[in-house]
Amino acid sequence: MAGEVSIEQIADEMYQLVADSAGQKKLKATDLTKAMTSKYGDQVSKQDCKDAIKMLIDSGRCIYGYFGGSSIEIPHREGSEN
């Protein structure tokens, strides 16, 4: 059932996925959601994943990026700014 995994835990696991793929692959919201639902099945809902992403973004741990498509990234100074 959805709600069995806490939003904090989902957010932490998503953060780890983003951190691990930084510089390799830009992950989007759907990538993170699919990773969580494939790991936990119906123990997490799409809404849980949405809430977790919102938590990551609102806390400033992650930011949105846009390079052709939108992604979720670790905050960093971007190349174009240099």
Partner: protein, 358 residues
């Protein structure tokens, strides 16, 4: 850091009702008919008998707060402070008092043009160009300015066979969606991005750069032991998406960038179904500041259309009636190999009948 008041988010735009003229509010959804009074002016008459008058004027779309303040001052003076903008970047003043029409027009004409209604050329929808865009192959605001300078008489009059809708997009990403306009001016890159192999590994994430290409033309490679990328030139469509993520792959090419001209698209369902634009002129080099070759080519197409089309025929409807060979004949535009499609569904554009005019 000081604690501020609660941050507001997700409030959406304000409700439109507070921006509606009282006459509009009173007759919302109860309009009976409208009629053009003269170029740039029309009246909408409601079932109640109320009338609201609209005066339409040009804006260059790229404007300053000063320009907007000029418009709002005129709105305060003549239209009870009510104004709106159209999908083609014109400004419209909504007047309850008919007597204000001519004084308003007089003041508008001190800095812009009034028109763009009925059988006219309305404002050109366009993109950012060299003013703001990283992937543009030409400027947009400048092209609009020089083309409309040349065609201004068609904005301020209603003497064309039917409405003529122009659009400018500064590359084929088409933020201006020019693919369904009567005449479209489209910026084109003609060469793939050049790769700065020396700096690319430092400036760009290679997997991200590879993934940025919508057509899988960018591939990882290594040169002298350094990881970098290569571009499959047969696949590159010059969209500039790789430059978006990787500043070491500039797409701009002063020698080769330029514009192409397309004709015969339409959006509305009136008479005929919506149509895509088709290629008329494959390439004209950029020649700023006034692009004379482009303005000549556009003006030529407009004049040939104006002379030959029947009333109510849009550009595409006229061409469909006379046939493409005649279009090239009448306009004097050269037909080249670039006019033959070679992308997906190209075959649907080949002549598969003997119904040609000789």
């Amino acid at each position: 850091m000081s604690v501020t008041t609660e941050r507001r988010t997700d409030i959406g735009p304000p409700h439109y009702e507070q921006f509606l003229h009282p006459i509009i509010k009173a007759n919302y959804g109860k309009w009976k008919y409208h009629e053009g009074l003269k170029p740039g002016v029309f009246v909408h008459v409601a079932e109640s008998g109320d009338s609201i008058y609209t005066v339409r004027a040009a804006s260059p779309r790229l404007i300053s707060t000063d320009f907007v303040r000029k418009l709002t001052a005129l709105a305060d003076k003549y239209s009870d402070g009510y104004l709106r903008f159209t999908s083609r970047n014109n400004v419209e003043f909504l007047l309850g008092n008919k007597d204000n029409i001519d004084p308003l027009i007089k003041e508008l004409e001190e800095f812009t043009l009034v028109g763009g209604t009925g059988r006219s050329i309305s404002n050109i929808v366009h993109t950012q160009g060299w003013v703001h865009c990283h992937s543009s192959a030409t400027d947009a605001s400048g092209l609009v300015k020089v083309v409309m300078d040349e065609l201004a008489e068609y904005f301020t009059s209603m003497k064309l066979p039917h409405k003529l809708r122009l659009a400018v997009a500064c590359c084929l990403n088409m933020c201006g969606a020019v693919h369904a306009s009567d005449i479209a001016i489209l910026g084109v890159h003609r060469t793939p991005p050049r790769i700065d192999h020396k700096n690319l590994p430092n400036l760009c994430e290679i997997p991200t750069t590879v993934a940025s290409c919508p057509n899988n033309a960018v591939r990882p490679t290594s040169i002298e032991g350094r990881s970098t990328v290569k571009v499959d030139e047969d696949k590159c469509m010059y969209c500039g998406n790789c430059f978006t993520v990787c500043p070491a792959m500039p797409i701009a090419d002063a020698l080769n960038d330029g514009v192409s001209i397309w004709v015969g698209g339409k959006i509305s369902n009136a008479r005929t179904e919506p149509m895509f634009t088709k290629l008329a002129v494959p390439y004209i080099p950029n020649n700023p500041p006034r692009w004379p070759e482009v303005t000549d080519a556009v003006k030529n197409i407009v004049e040939v259309y104006a002379k030959n089309a029947k009333p109510y025929e849009r550009m595409g409807e006229w061409i469909n009636r006379i046939g493409w060979p005649k279009f090239f004949d009448l306009t004097g535009i050269e037909f080249t190999k670039y006019h033959l499609d070679d992308f997906r569904h190209a075959g649907t554009t080949y002549r598969r009948s003997l119904q040609n005019r000789y």
